[in-house]
């Protein structure tokens, strides 16, 4: 591993995140909420820290990045990003102790949206904007953003890009990796602006619109309101946010292709077809399940069902209803949605629709082979054969995912959590959803989790966002062997 490059890049990333604090700093001056000193100090600390790393490693630059370096840079970059993200919380006093501040920061960058803040509305406006900004930056990927902005990465960029992008297969939209990243970020920025405009048209204030858009597009789920979107109790906002959550759960390459190929592209793509169908099917079932039992009108039932389903399946985590009070069928379906997650190449977490499709198709092929032992079969997606290597990697991924999920849940249970809370808190974090069930349900928060439990969940959030392999490979002795 090229330690020099890893430190150098981490330094650049820290400087970059430090500079991004200018936005909340400006807001802080505007509102005069008393956090400007804290934010300014955080900015100076981050830029100073990053600058030091950068200058110390300045001499021997230009080394070729191997796949191993890429993995290390991305993982260490994200761990360091959490520290930078925690600084403003600690200095401003919003979350004074390190574990909680780090939890909140990682929950932000990984777009999980689990919070330790019991009273969100009591936190200064600028700090809340920083909290939303961490989600927005983490959504499309802080490393991908650096590749887009920093021109010198060249070939090494591909190693970083692949380690960060949440997808089993990596396709480039443009021949150059920096152009691909730039395109993705432009699409992301454009849709975010669109959402801000739609929210403002419904009468939401600019500040709230920006915060919510910053948390919808990365499928994050932080809200500056204690009651999340339920605060507004408006069908219009619910509808706008459902649409944008679904947009965020779709592969961003498709949004780019929309420009050239028109809206047919969403139905032609096999993965997005399945994703949209699953959403519609589960919404329909839950609508009928809660119609009559929870809500009296079918329209209201549909409104709350569609919001909750899109929020959970895209792993956003906004809430307009306390779904813990819903019938068991609806609750279990929502739990399944957590596993499914968004599409590959979207900002959503979870297993990803593409993996689910391929797992099922692969499983079916194995059964088929028992009937026809000599048949030559390939698993196809959209008429194209999927390489066996990809299938194996997905099975490995799935197995590790489940193992880690079970292991972490057992640790949570050992720490004294009840069964529903220990399973759902891990699910909420490893799938980057946000709220779980039990003591971490949609109307509760993660403050009550013991310290060790919080660190386990922080690890789970990183695992989920970086898709397991990138983080786990650093824990193998082979990685560190020369």
């Amino acid at each position: 591993m090229n330690v020099n490059s890893v430190l150098r890049f981490t330094g650049i990333l820290i400087i970059f995140l430090g500079v991004s604090m200018c936005l909340p700093l400006a807001v802080s001056f505007f509102y005069g909420d008393g956090s400007s000193n804290a934010l300014a100090l955080s900015l100076v600390i981050s830029v100073g820290l990053g600058g030091m790393l950068f200058l110390l490693t300045h001499k021997n630059k230009g080394a070729h990045l191997s796949h191993r370096d890429g993995v290390a840079i991305v993982t260490f970059g994200w761990v360091a990003a959490g520290i930078v993200g925690a600084i403003p919380y600690m200095i401003s006093g919003a979350i004074p102790d390190f574990t909680n501040a780090y939890f909140e920061a990682i929950s932000g960058f990984t777009t999980t949206g689990s919070t330790v803040l019991p009273n969100i509305e009591g936190v200064p406006a600028s700090i809340l904007l920083w909290r939303s900004l961490t989600q927005w930056l983490g959504g499309m990927g802080i490393i991908v953003l650096s590749i887009a902005i920093l021109p010198f990465l060249g070939v090494g960029g591909m190693q970083l890009y692949r380690a960060e992008i949440p997808s089993p297969v990596v396709d480039k939209l443009k021949p150059r990796i920096s152009d691909t990243s730039k395109t993705l970020w432009k699409v992301y920025l454009f849709i975010t602006l669109l959402e801000i405009i739609f929210l403002m048209l419904g009468g939401m204030s600019l500040y709230d619109s920006v915060n919510h858009a910053f948390c919808t597009m990365p499928t994050g789920g932080f809200s500056p309101k204690n009651a999340s979107i339920a605060y507004y109790n408006s069908a219009y906002f619910d509808a706008v946010i459902v649409v944008f959550m679904m947009v965020a759960g779709i592969n961003f390459s498709l949004h780019f292709k929309l420009l050239s190929e028109g809206p047919k592209v969403f139905w032609r793509d096999p993965e997005s077809r399945v994703f949209i169908s699953i959403f519609l099917a589960i919404t329909a079932i839950i609508t009928f399940d809660i119609y009559g039992t929870v809500y009296d009108s079918i329209v209201t039932a549909f409104r709350y069902a569609s919001f909750q389903v899109s929020s959970i399946i895209t792993t956003t985590g906004f809430a307009t209803a306390d779904f813990e009070l819903w019938p068991t069928l609806s609750c279990s379906l929502l739990l399944i949605c957590m596993f499914l997650g968004g599409m590959a190449g979207s900002t959503g977490g979870g297993l990803k629709t593409m993996r689910v499709i391929l797992l099922i198709k692969h499983g079916y092929r194995e059964i088929f082979r028992i009937v026809h032992p000599h048949a030559v079969t390939t698993v196809k997606l959209g008429g194209r054969a999927v390489p066996q290597e990809t299938l194996n990697s997905i099975w490995g991924f799935f197995t590790l995912y489940l193992l880690l999920f079970v292991a972490s849940s057992i640790v949570m249970a050992m720490l004294g959590l009840d069964m529903v809370s220990s399973f759902s808190s891990v699910a909420a974090c490893i799938f980057n959803v946000g709220p779980g069930l039990g003591i971490v349900g949609p109307v509760d928060n993660f403050m009550g989790i013991p310290i060790i439990g919080k660190w386990v969940l922080i690890f789970c959030m990183l695992l989920g966002r970086l898709e397991i392999y990138t983080v786990l490979v650093l824990l193998t002795p082979e990685f560190w062997r020369k």
Binding site: G154, V155, M158, Q159, K172, K174, P175, R176, D179, P387
Partner: protein, 452 residues
Amino acid sequence: MKIIIVGAGEVGFHCAQKLSEEGQDVVLIDKDPEKIKRITDNLDVQAVTGSGTSPGSLKDAGIVGADMLVAATDSDEANLIACLLAKNLNRYILKVARVRNREYLEEKELFGDSLLGVDQIINPESAMVETITNLMTVPGASDVIDFVDGKIKLIGYTIAKGSALAGRQLSTFSDIYGNLLIGAIIRDEKVLIPHGMDTIQAGDLIYLVIRSNELNKVFSFLGINEKGVRNVIITGGGDTGGALGEALEDSKLHIKIIEKDNLRCTYLSEKLSRALVICGDGTDKDLLIEENIGGMDFLVALTGDEENNVLMSLLAKELGVKKIITRISKLSYIPLVSAIGIDTVVSPRLSAVRAILQYIRRGKVISVAPLKGEHAEAIEVEALETSDIVDKPISKIKFPKGALVGAVIRGEEVIIPTGNTVVESKDRLIFFALKEVIPKLENLLTVKLDYF
């Protein structure tokens, strides 16, 4: 510029690498998923798994918006079909095809606008033959490159131990100023663009610029016996060997071609009148001694078997051949064989890469030749009227460190410049430049915007 390269073999890979480093948008197409994986791991280019002869794959690669197609697979037929499809899918695309079969090349109208519309044919074999004949004009040189249609030669020469040149400072060569110039020194795999204060050391590979009609001055400068090359032996009478034999028909050389295959020998002897065709194995020591190998000035190992070529070359070296040229296709072998004492290598793939790159970079830059190890280049450019370099003596031009003017060509006149030479517009210049200063040099050479 968006360039689609069909075929991710060695030629495709190296072209893609060079072009992507130069800032072009490159899309590679290959059938083999393993090769595609290797490319996405190593290069910043887009890779498409598929066949270059399938319209679907070409569309996937974005042929409609592309500016150029380079068909660089090992199969001529695949390359030609790719060009045909490209023409059909995008009327304005430039097409470069690698074609080896000489029979195809003879059908000139095949490549014309009415049929394939290939803009540039790259034939690595003929490029290789040209390189070999060039090397023969300067005995002992390890690299000979033509510029300005052969008016100027760039000669790479390794300084032997005990040479009179070793240890001399460049500024002491004032007597030869204006006739000859040392443009680059390669020492321990590193390229120096020299100053007057630099010294030549034994073991250096120096690059000289000279007018082609004054080659004898180089011979006396380097202390080469002027008699030049007389006896040449070629092992391997395949396509390249045969073509080389044909190219040397008009020379005064004594040529022997050793070829294993009986039928091929008969064919060669019918076709060639000057060369003596010998049927046998080039690795057979007794046969080589029988044919007086020790008295040969040149051995060119051109069989299709590269391991055999290497063995033959080592054997011939031991038996006293003065200069050996070895054909090696696999580019990864080239650094290895130089370590075991084979110094001059020709490679059809490297020739193809060079030819493709030269075509793509044409325009203001007339031709480019990478120097050994590829850390430096010799570039031929036209001095534009509005650029910063005209109407000044060369010593007043602010060249980036690591760049040097090697020759100035004004109409028919060739000037080997000194500090007082004034560059005029429309002059053609030959630069030596380290790879990293080439962008700076390009800025200097291009038109100043405020002129308009």
